[in-house]
Structures are given as C-alpha cells and as structure tokens.
C-alpha cells in the first residue's frame, strides 16, 4: 500500500505542478488557457531531444525546457491575450484552444505521431538506480520528480510572496487598474506570470516524460484537463489548494486502481472532483489563500 502511496504522490506532484501553473495564470489574468497541456508536452519533447541527441543530463534538460517553455508561455500570452485584451474573454479562450491544436500538429510534424522513448540504456541509471527507504525502493527519478516539484512549489511561493516582482503580480491580481495606476507595467506582469506558469508546465513535462519514458504529441490533453480540474477543485486562485488537490487526485487514482480496476482510474478521479465541487462550490481553498483577489 505504501508503494501505491508513492506512485500516487509522484503522479500527484506532477498534477500539482501543472495545476499550480493554471492557478498562477488564472489568479493574475483572470483567464483560463487551454494550451497549458501542450506547453507541458513541449517541455517533455525538449527533454526527449536533449537526452537522445545531446547528453542524458537531467539538470540540463530541466534548464533548457524551462527556458523554452518560458518563451512559449510569453508568446502564447502575447498572441492569445495581449492582442485580445479588449475582446470578449471567449475570444482568448478560443485562441488558446486553436494554439493547442497547432502545437499538437507541430509536434506530429517534427517528432512524428508515434510514441517515442529515450533509448533505455541512456536513462538506465536515472530510472532504475535507487535507494531503499524503510524497505521500499525509491528510484532517483522518482525522488527527482518529487524533489523538483516541491522545490518549484516553494520557489514559486517565495517568488510571489517575497520579491518585488511578486508584489507587482499580487497587486495586479487584486486589481488591474489600481496596479496600473500605481505604476505597474500590467502588460509585462501578465506576460511574465503566464511565462512562469508555463515554465512550471514545461518542467512537469520533462519530469513525467522521463518518468514514464513515453512521449507522444497528444500526451498533454488528458493531463491538461486533469490539472485544470485540480486547480478548480483547489479553488482556482489558491496555490496551496492547487497543490493539495493535485496530490490528492494522484493518490486517489492509485488507490482506485488497486481497489477497483485500472480502467476506472479517470472515472474515480473525476467523480471525486465533482463531489468536492458539489460540497464546496468554491473549491477546497476557495475563500482564502495568498492569491485570492477581488474576483470578477
């Protein structure tokens, strides 16, 4: 059972990381992006490319993926949101859906539609090297997934709460106009926030891609929906809420497979989310939290 808990926490930490990206973006822009799963997929393919053709180094892959998806995020924000700042919200939503389709097709063109994997020999040590904790084996990669995810969450929290830029982000998230009046370059804050949120998606992509060693163009679709749901369940503007919801969903899925059947994992995950939302329509941490603002 402890093994299932570790499985669930590993998967859940990735949901949490992706959900956190949604939360940061929504918390500031008050807008939802449907291209987040594809940014995640982009990060994963950066990892695949670096490992396979350059050098199998996890820190390097994480760094490059972070830079690439940061830029991707900034571009998506400029195309889908800045250009459409005065258009109805639906327009931006539609553009992000369009961008996600374009990104999936782009990945099919560049990498092919088939499932790809890094030659197993290259990640042998990372994926199967391990230490023993209380009689249970934890691989380096599992530790890296959990460790990087936690580090990213802490770093983001610190960034938002304790830096001048974080202050500007919080100000913008509370009131766009007031922040603008106080001299905050709101456009720049929007792009920056979106880029940071996307970067977390990209890092999650590298981690999960390596963890399963499976890469395919549509890998971000279901995960994107799951993470978005986790972020909604968490309260949509609450960072701790997103993390708690992400981890909980991961663990619930693992146990659902164990107690019931592998084919019901997604069913159980979404039924759980619906129940939570019925009981607490604003999500687990809907009312409070560091990012909660005035709402629209």
């Amino acid at each position: 059972m402890l093994e299932q808990l570790i499985n669930g926490l590993t998967q859940g930490s990735v949901y949490a990381l992706l959900a956190l990206g949604f939360t940061i973006i929504f918390g500031t822009l008050r807008m939802v992006t449907f291209a987040h799963g594809e940014v995640f997929m982009g990060g994963a393919y950066v990892g695949l490319t670096l490992f396979t053709y350059l050098t199998p180094s996890l820190p390097l892959a994480l760094l490059v993926a972070a830079v690439v998806t940061f830029i991707m995020g900034a571009l998506i924000e400029i195309i889908a949101f800045r250009f459409l700042r005065n258009a109805p919200h639906f327009s931006s939503l539609l553009v992000t859906i369009g961008l996600s389709v374009i990104l999936i097709n782009l990945a099919q063109l560049i990498f092919g539609p088939e499932t790809r994997s890094i030659p197993p020999a290259l990640i042998e040590d990372l994926a199967f090297g391990e230490i023993q904790i209380f009689g249970f084996y934890v691989t380096y990669l599992q530790m890296a997934v959990l460790g990087v995810a936690i580090a990213m969450m802490v770093a983001t929290y610190f960034f938002i709460e304790h830096t001048p830029i974080g202050l500007a982000i919080r100000a913008t998230s509370q009131d766009h106009e007031a922040a603008y009046a106080m001299g905050v370059n709101v456009n720049r804050i929007f792009t920056l926030t979106f880029a940071v949120g996307s970067m977390m998606g990209g890092i999650a992509g590298v981690l999960i891609g390596l963890y399963y060693n499976v890469f395919y163009p549509t890998m971000g679709i279901l995960l994107g929906i799951k993470a978005f749901s986790a972020s909604v369940v968490g309260g949509l503007v609450s960072m701790p809420g997103a993390i708690i919801a992400g981890l909980t969903i991961g663990v619930i899925e693992s146990f659902a497979v164990d107690f019931w059947n592998a084919s019901y994992r997604h069913l159980v995950a979404f039924v759980f989310m619906i129940i939570i939302l019925v009981i607490r329509p604003a999500g687990i941490m809907g009312k409070s939290g560091p990012m909660s603002g005035r709402g629209d």
Binding site: E3, Q4, N7, G8, T10, Q11, G112, P113, E114, T115, S117, P119, P120, A121, E124, A127, F128, Y137, T139, Q142, Y212, N213, V214, Y216, T218, M219, L222, E253, S254, V257, D258, N261, A262, S263, R265, H266
Partner: protein
C-alpha cells in the same frame, strides 16, 4: 415549345449515352493494362512498425508477380493508404477504395477494430478484405468477403492458456489488456481457457488506449503475485508496462499475444523486457520450407530480418495474387470466390483452405526475449 423540350431531352439522352460510352471505353482501356489492389495499413502512429513490415512483404510479392508477367496479362498496381491505426480512418479508406471502380480487392487492415469497422463497406461492394492480422473471432463473421491470414484469438488465447497452466504449472493468472475490440477478445479467450484448465484468474485489468501510467496497476499485480501475467497489448504499451514493473522490483513470468513480437519492444523496453514470452505463427528460424524461402527472399530484398507481421503480410499478398490469377481479375465478386476455391495453398504461416471457413488453422512457435533478442523457447 413542346417540340423544343422534346428535342432537349433527346439531346440530353444522347449525350448521356455518349458519356457513358466514353467512360466504359476508358475503364476498358485501363483495365487492359493494370488491375488495382487497395492496401490499408497503419503506416504512422504507434503501430507503424507492424504496418511497415506488412507493406514491405506485400510490395515484394506484387513486384515479383508483375515481373513474372502479372495476372491475366495485366500488371498489378497497389493503392496504399495510411489508416494510422484509427478505425474511423479505415472506414474512410474503405469508402475511397470501394468508390474507385479500378480497385478490385483489398489487403488490410491491421487491427481487428479497423477491419471490423470497414467490413460492412467492403461487404456491400462484394470486395474481398484480406486482413493479415485481424484475430478477433467475429471479423470473418462480418461477411462472406472477409478473410484472415492469422489465427483467431479463439485459438491463440487457449493455446497460451495451456502454455501457462500446463507449461508453467500456473495456479493463478492475471491479465493487463488494452481496452479495444481485439484486447477484450484476447483477454476473454485466454482467461476462459485458463479457468477451464483449472487456474484461477485473480485480476483482469483493462487500460484505455493512450494510457501510459501503469505504476499503480503493476503495484497491484505485484501484490497479488500471479504465477503468470498475460499481456494482450502492443509493443509501445508492452515496453511501458514492463519498464514500470521493473521499477517496482517486480519480475513476473510474462506471456503475451503474438502482438508483442517486435524489435521495437526490445528497443523501447531494453533490459525491462528480458524474459517476455509469446507464441507466433512464424519465426525466422522456422524449419517449414515456405518459411525458409520467405526469410531468405525478404532478407535479400530489404537487408532486414522479417518478423511474423511480414510473414502474414506475405501470405495475404500471395493469396490475393493467386485469387487474381484464378479468377482472371475480372471483377470484385470473383475474388472472394476464387479465394475460397484455392484449396490448400501452402503459405509461410501455414496452409490455407478457405472452402469451409475463412479462419485458417495455425501452428504456433514459442519465443522468448533473451539477451536483447527474440529466440525460440527451448
């Protein structure tokens, strides 16, 4: 006024006749040179390697037949379409093939789901669909123009169940299978036979096509610890399942359907897939004379060792060429009848006699992955 209307109708009628005459003449002229055969296979996507091997063999057979003078004085021309492993795509391809009067027979598709989805369209057009690989028992029940080269799950499943229970003395078995037409049938026939032989089925885990996280399900299987784990899956999923099992320090005795017999499984699975076993209707070191001749020809043509998928592709094309010759390649309906009348054609993967049943009987060879290579089980 009346007269002019009549004249207009008359000239329209005459025009139609002329146009019809031209189109008949055109087909007649073309048919004199070539006869077309449609090929529908997954050439991209997760099943691309399977499709590629089949395509290579089909090309080889057709090229040889054309070099030997074609059929009934006509050259055979292939119309190859990529179904990407998607049944919806196979249906569209079937409609396209059926809509082209020059195409008189079809080879394909790969998956049972694809073949069964396209079956009504081919059946309505009386066009033979000769699938190298569709092993779902219901496929050939979809119409009198459906033919298969491979054995059905109704024979492969029980064969593997017997191997598990009698060969390995398994008291308990578990399955992890892909949730599509084929996977459900493969799981059903294996588990039913295993139970009949006295083994207990302690878990049957289905996963949706596209699922990549098998950690939880493998943790569960590890805890239940069946004597034999049966995997009716394809190579990309097989590699992922075995890799994630290895991370859990779980080394089960794994049997699978012939679908795992692929070099890609070893390429993607590495050390994790060592010891995986399956049963196949063809293996390069088969002593059957037809097999040896085929292996030699394929190696000489492509500088590559063929696999079972290449072998069934070869047999499918050989059968179609034989039927074209026998029927004189006249029309679509004659191909199905000619296939039924071939009577005991000796193929690479067994003998074919479609006169009573469109499901050929197969003999299987047992193979295992050892030191990164597929070798016969000793």
């Amino acid at each position: 006024m009346k007269k002019s209307t009549k004249g207009w109708i008359k000239s329209l009628f005459a025009g139609t006749v002329i146009a019809a005459g031209i189109s008949v003449a055109a087909t007649g002229a073309l048919a004199g040179e070539t006869v077309k055969v449609g090929v529908s296979l997954p050439l991209t996507g997760d099943w691309a390697e399977y499709g590629d091997f089949i395509k290579k063999s089909v090309n080889m057979v057709i090229n040889k037949a054309n070099k030997d003078g074609g059929v009934a004085g006509k050259k055979i021309e292939l119309v190859i379409a990529d179904s990407r492993g998607d049944p919806k795509e196979s249906v569209l391809i079937a409609q396209k093939f059926v809509g082209n009067p020059e195409i008189i027979a079809e080879i394909g598709d790969f998956s049972s789901s694809s073949c069964m989805a396209a079956a009504p369209i081919y059946e309505k057009a009386s066009m033979a669909q000769v699938s190298p690989t569709a092993s779902h028992p219901d496929f050939t029940k979809k119409g009198k123009n459906m033919f298969r080269v491979i054995g059905t799950q109704a024979t492969e499943g029980p064969y593997n169940a017997k191997w598990a229970v009698e060969g390995f003395g398994a008291k308990t078995v578990a399955t992890v299978y892909i949730n599509n037409d084929w996977g459900v049938a493969a799981n059903k026939y294996f588990t039913q036979a295993a139970e009949k032989l006295g083994a207990k089925v302690i878990a049957q885990e289905a996963f949706s096509p596209g699922e990549k996280d098998f950690s939880s399900v493998m943790s569960k299987i590890k805890r239940l610890n069946p004597d034999v784990l049966y995997l009716p899956v394809f190579y990309a999923d097989g590699a992922a399942i075995m890799g994630q099992a290895r991370r859990l320090h779980y080394k089960p005795t794994v049997l699978s359907t012939g679908s795992l017999y692929s070099e890609k499984l070893i390429e993607q699975g590495g050390k994790s897939v060592e010891g995986v076993m399956t049963s196949v209707a063809y293996f390069p070191s088969n002593p059957r004379p037809e097999s040896m001749a085929f292996t030699k020809e394929f190696k000489a043509t492509y500088n590559k060792t063929p696999n079972m998928f290449a072998a069934v592709g070869f047999d499918a094309a050989t059968l179609v060429v034989a039927a074209l010759k026998k029927s004189g390649a006249k029309d679509r309906a004659s191909i199905g009848k000619a296939l039924e009348g071939l009577g005991g054609l000796r193929g690479v993967t067994g003998d074919f006699d479609y006169s009573k049943s469109h499901d050929p009987v197969k003999e299987y060879a047992k193979i295992i992955i050892k030191d990164g290579k597929w070798v016969p089980v000793k």
